[in-house]
Amino acid sequence: MTGPRPFDRILIANRGEIAVRVIRACREMGIESVAVYSDADARALHTTLADVAIRIGPPQAIDSYLSIDALLSAARQAGAQAVHPGYGFLSENADFASACKTAGLTFIGPPPEAIEGMGSKIAARRVAVEAGVPVVPGETPTDQSDDAIVDAARRVGFPVLLKPSEGGGGIGMKTARNDRDLIKTIAQARREALAAFGDGTLYVERLIEKPRHIEFQILADHHGHVVHLFERECSIQRRHQKVIEESPSPAVTPSLRQRMGAAAVAVARKAGYRNAGTVEFLVEGNGDSARFYFLEMNTRLQVEHPVTEQVTGVDLVRAQIGVAGGRDLPWTQEDLSQRGHAIELRIYAEDPARQDLPQAGTLLLYREPSMPGIRIDSGVTEGSEVAVYYDPLLVKLIASGETRDTARARALAAIRSYPILGIRTNIPLLIELLEHPKFVSGNIDTGLLDADGDAIRARLSSSPSPEVVAVAAAARAARPSATTRTSAAGAANIDPWSSLRGARV
């Protein structure tokens, strides 16, 4: 990927850490970055970092980050030549990809036909079957009535998962173990599918018990080259949302890796895929005899792409931009290798001691750790406002090392030195997970947090230690006459910075 830059100016149709990630790649490549922001993000990190920032609407995503008109008009206004969709929002929306094309913009992702084809679970399965790759039993009933969905579940076999047919990322997925469970769940599943994806159509799938969730990164250019960049293990999930990812997977043997990699490439070829994508598999069993099933293909850059970058040395965002600009992939499959180990921790604004209740507020203090083998992909900084409108992912911490043990030790050391004050985060849960005997041994499946979650969470609430109380007292004593100001104001939402500002000015 050498030669002149593929574009002069790229609009990033996203927010948060992924927008920041793409802005940084643009800057390295000498490309101007155009951020878009809603009113809730006027001072967000991505808005302030980009070369150009354009307001696209009110806080509600439907009128801003999900508004194709607003995004295209921003691209026109900024004179952008290409659009990077990030993940989530419109990244897997074929209409958006088509609209970009019609507007003369390069969509940095797969062609609309591939998004359409792989976005529908039925079509994606057909592609996998045609490519000779095994699939998990499941169907989207044409009749979407409650009765027909129950019938479908009986055909597929309980326990089942109900998923939005148009969805992804674990959003809106429900488990049902029998008819009664299922009937109770359908209405909510439908509502959530409609709210998240604008389509209430449900897909019914057999739930594979104790599976591992292993996915393969692929990259395809416009000249017929398709490669895979090995696997990511994404088995640590809570309610089908990933929490910790790593590469390589402790469970994948060289022979299994070779077979799964070839299957991923076959699916991508069959789909006519271009750019970066991920082929997800469920894996049952262990060793060379493990069975894998094609689950779905994500037609976008993944949240967990950094673990692949850390072990392969490939910059996936740069590769995406290069491929979109018509470049050849600069490597063959034989050129690519996995070296060392990488673990990604997702830091969410939610309270693990209270059923992961989302948190909102101001980051009063935020200090990123800096130490060997640590990469931080952040969407926030000290003083950032965390709003309720968007996904609670704040930051990804990626630890790398020569071995899994080293990467794990580095992840632990870094997360323990990562103060984020002003809102609660899931950091205590991440620490518990990194220290969990099953995680330490690598013996993980997607049910770990469901099975041991209560025991893990029970350790999270404890009364403040004498040290904590002493530090709190010191901090209160150091507060410049804030006690009197705060109590005099008597208001419910005193921003501690306002009193500091008052003292300075």
Partner: protein
């Protein structure tokens, strides 16, 4: 090593950093004092409240029977109407925040006196969502009433509080 008899010494290092020494054990902590004091020590974040009971803000029913929002959220759906009889654990409304649905359940049997929010509205923590009063038809049987509505949180049991991640 430190023991419980060791005094704790805290030295401010500036910019929110504190050196904590207990016995021979030294650690760096971070803290910000606002309305509450936030402390980060060894991966744990604690909120030390200035109020004596130290109770966190959450959705709760106060003595007047007002149900309040536990967090900033959008009102997704209101299931109850003014004057309606509700049973304990009935989902009276559904809030949404960060792609999660959060059912708000009635903490007790009663009658909806007033609804203080609208579907689609953004509510802040502590905003009154709904007011409950006792069912007049049960007023003649006062036994058990003194306990009602006191200290009951609408986000009481873990099961009730469980949000649904979309």
């Amino acid at each position: 090593m430190s023991s419980s008899d060791d005094p704790t010494e805290v030295v401010p290092l500036g910019n929110g950093r504190y050196q904590v020494t207990r016995g021979t054990k030294r650690t760096i902590a971070f803290a910000v004092a606002g309305r509450d004091t936030w402390v980060f020590l060894d991966g744990r974040t604690s909120i030390v409240s200035d109020t004596p009971d130290g109770s966190p803000r959450r959705s709760r029913v106060d003595e007047q029977g007002a149900l309040t929002a536990p967090m900033p959220a959008t009102v997704l759906k209101i299931n109850a109407t003014t004057g309606q009889l509700v049973k304990r654990n009935d989902v009276v409304m559904v809030l949404e925040a960060m792609k999660m649905e959060l059912p708000i359940r009635s903490p007790r049997d009663g009658v909806v006196k007033a609804i203080r929010c609208e579907a689609g509205e953004l509510v802040q923590p502590g905003t009154t969502l709904l007011e409950l009063e006792d069912d007049p038809s049960t007023l003649r049987e006062p036994q058990g009433r003194p306990e009602q509505g006191r200290g009951t949180t609408s986000s009481g049991s873990p099961e009730q509080r469980r949000g649904v991640r979309k």
